[in-house]
Amino acid sequence: MAEQFVVELKHVTKKFPGVVAMRDMHIQIKPGEIHGLIGENGAGKSTLIKVLTGVYVPEEGEIYVEGRQQVFKNPVQAREAGIACVYQELNIVKMLSVVDNVFMGRRITNKFGLLDYAYMHEEARKALSALGHGTIDTRMECGKLGIGQQQMVEIAKAITQNAKLIIMDEPTSSLGEQEVKQLMDTVRLLKDRGIAILFVSHKLEELFELCDRVTVMRDGEHILTSDISQMTGDSLIEAMVGRTLENQYPKIPTSRGEMALKVENLTQIGAIRDVSFEAYAGEILAFAGLVGAGRTETMRAIFAAEKPDSGKVYVKGKEVSFKNPGEAIRSGLAFLTEDRKGQGLVLSESVKTNLILSNIKNYRKGPLLNHQEINKVSEDNVKTLRIKTPTIEEVVVLLSGGNQQKVVIGKWINSDADIYIFDEPTRGIDVGAKIEVYNVMNRLVSEGKCIIMVSSELPEVLGMADRVIVMREGRIMAEIPRESPHFNQNDIMKAAWGGEIA
């Protein structure tokens, strides 16, 4: 072997029912290098991390650690082989002390069989000093530390386990500027100790500042690995998005009607700032941006799912201030949430109950429910939306993802809304169901409804939107109409990554 890699992946494929999450992936990480990993949302980065840490067992392919082939059947085996991961959501038990967190899951006992705290404190202190954070008191309760310091505790945990590779999944996303600097210093200290780092980030500037090499993923596949000095921001973005638009977007032209929704300076501290925009009847307005850019938060604030701290919302020219989602629905808003199972459906209930969930009170005859009417409407929905279900009494949990999504869409169509907010309407459903969802959107706009579509899939945005608003870190970065020359993947991505559109 010409060059020894600390971790190497060859021809790894991971499948899920109906989807291939990672196909023929390969990556080689050298000892003591900082290796960047980027890709769009859903490009397969998380899958790669989970394969490396033993959370997923791939169907095909080989994993080598320091030249020896390994099969990780569970996270413990990956940890023992020397692969550690600092997740975006830290695995810190806030009520426990620093030392307890560093040694969680391991028992170091003295000759009496009791935990050897003297030794553990010593080791934890050593590890933290090596990270340049020797000042952290190992007796301190972790919850009292800042996020940056909690992250250090996680990294200390990794190095006391003799990790050879530490994966950092968007480690800077919840840090302040000062903490980011400290983290970068720590990462360089780790590099000097010969520990390899796989640095997953959405921020190009960080990658350029920190990494030696970078790997780009797209659609679950390896696109390129290169020295970062050979790359530019534009070339990285091109590698991330570089695919051609296929004709799976049956957009039909419509004419823009009156203003349906106007939002002024909507602010939710810590999530969105000064968001202002207008949406019109008969158009599809898309919201693009990276995960965590504040798009969903904006929609939740408009719908009063989470009350905004400040800002104004106008529906058809009239100012409104919803106290709860019920009021928003009565004003003609509908909100298809991105989390279908957690927020959209009552999984334990029937198709028909879910279809009438948002306006059940409209189906009353006296004090009782009019089951005939409910059945008629549900049967209608099943037919027009082509929901594949044996009967309307079927429990929705047994339906496929695409059909579940159609049930949610049916629920909102029944509420007879004028403004439809669709948050990731095609996430996790197959291509056929996607096209049917687009057709429903077409039908709604041609009936003069207003659609706001939040989507992380750029081809979908370009395929269906009349106008796109790009958000980044809680703010609107750009607004691009379909006619504009900037209405293309590269410019939208540039705005989403914080760049200027020329």
Binding site: P17, G326, G344, S348, E349, L357, P390, V397
Partner: protein, 344 residues
């Protein structure tokens, strides 16, 4: 693939549905043989119904709480408080009219339920376990306070109208044939109330909303259902049912006694769980609860006929509750597995 799974889960569903009925039938056969001439008598059967009534009434309210993935641990003392309210109004204020005693008792219990709901939804206490466990003690204390910790007797105090519903029985004779003798009016009340609950849960908007809030409170909220209001109403109804149970208790026990609430809460929970409700919420039926309550009364009655003391009864009923919960947990696991298989 999918259809095979569905068939299997339907069979499983069916077995789960008839399981309590099967157990009840087996118990009947068993007790009939073991207590020949004692168990299958008209008087004893009517006794079982009489004993079931209070648990059925409390269980109906408990069912709603369980459907919303909650629990109401205050039911026992809430019912006792209703009985004590009747006693205090009679003894200290000389009120004897059923038209005052019954509504006031029920109102007091409903108010306690409203407080339960408010604590849960407006103070955002983590789980109704907390609010209702606290309220259980509060209500016990209030009952002791208003009665000065004394037992109040109802015999010959001129409030027989109020006691009638918990006490009265009637006979059914058809063409001189004694079909039923000593059928308790309180069980008729149960059947009427359960009929109402059946309609309420299945045929009204609020009833369906209770299931939806139980199945997924966030989805319900984002669909415009006021989850908090629905929950508050659920605990008020539970309180209301405790009030009704308290009135029946007054007639059945002939006393207002703060010490008698011991097993009402667990019996009610057990009745619901045996009847198909789940601690995870979202399911349960009123007729299942009726079966569950009958099952528990039958076990108690059978043990009584063995002249088994309280000790044995507690042990057996405790085991039955644990068994019922185990079945519930197993059922959930099986369903989760069926779901996983169905999505492959």
């Amino acid at each position: 693939m999918t259809t095979a799974v569905k068939k299997r889960s339907n069979v499983g569903d069916f077995i789960m549905k008839i399981a309590p009925l099967t157990v009840l039938a087996i118990l009947y056969i068993l007790f009939s043989i073991m207590h020949q001439g004692k168990f299958m008598t008209m008087a004893n059967q009517m006794n079982i119904l009489k004993q079931t009534a209070v648990n059925c009434l409390i269980g109906a309210g408990m069912l709603l709480a369980l459907i919303t993935a909650g629990i109401d641990l205050s039911v026992g003392y809430n019912a006792i408080l209703a009985t004590c309210t009747i006693g205090v109004l009679m003894q200290n204020f000389g009120i004897t009219s059923a038209l005052i005693l019954i509504p006031v008792a029920i109102l007091v219990s409903t108010l306690a339920g409203f407080i339960n709901g408010t604590l849960l939804t407006r103070l955002d206490l983590p789980h109704p376990f907390v609010s209702t466990l606290g309220m259980k003690n509060v209500l016990w204390g209030v009952a002791l306070l208003i009665t000065s910790s004394k037992t109040i007797g109802f015999t010959n105090k001129g409030i027989d109208n109020t006691l009638w519903i918990g006490r009265a029985t009637f006979d059914v004779n058809i063409f001189g044939l004694k079909l039923l003798t000593g059928f308790p009016v309180s069980f008729i009340l149960v059947l009427v109330v359960y009929g109402f609950f059946h309609v309420f849960l299945n045929h009204t908007a609020l009833g369906r909303q209770i299931y939806c809030v139980g199945g997924n409170p966030e989805a319900a909220r984002l669909s415009g259902i006021r989850s908090k209001d629905v929950l508050t109403v659920v605990y008020m109804i539970s309180g209301f049912m405790c009030g009704v149970a308290g009135v029946v208790l007054a007639g059945r026990l002939n006393t207002a006694n703060t010490a008698s609430a011991a097993t009402y809460d667990t019996d009610a929970i057990a009745a619901c769980i045996i009847g198909g409700a789940s601690f995870r919420g979202g399911k349960g039926t009123i007729w299942g609860t009726l079966l569950g309550a009958l099952l528990i009364s039958t076990i108690r009655n059978g043990l009584n006929l063995f002249s088994a003391g309280n000790d044995i009864q507690y042990i057996v009923i405790g085991s039955v509750i644990i068994l019922a919960v185990t079945i519930d947990v197993t059922r959930n696991k099986l369903e989760a597995r069926a779901r996983k298989l169905a999505t492959v």
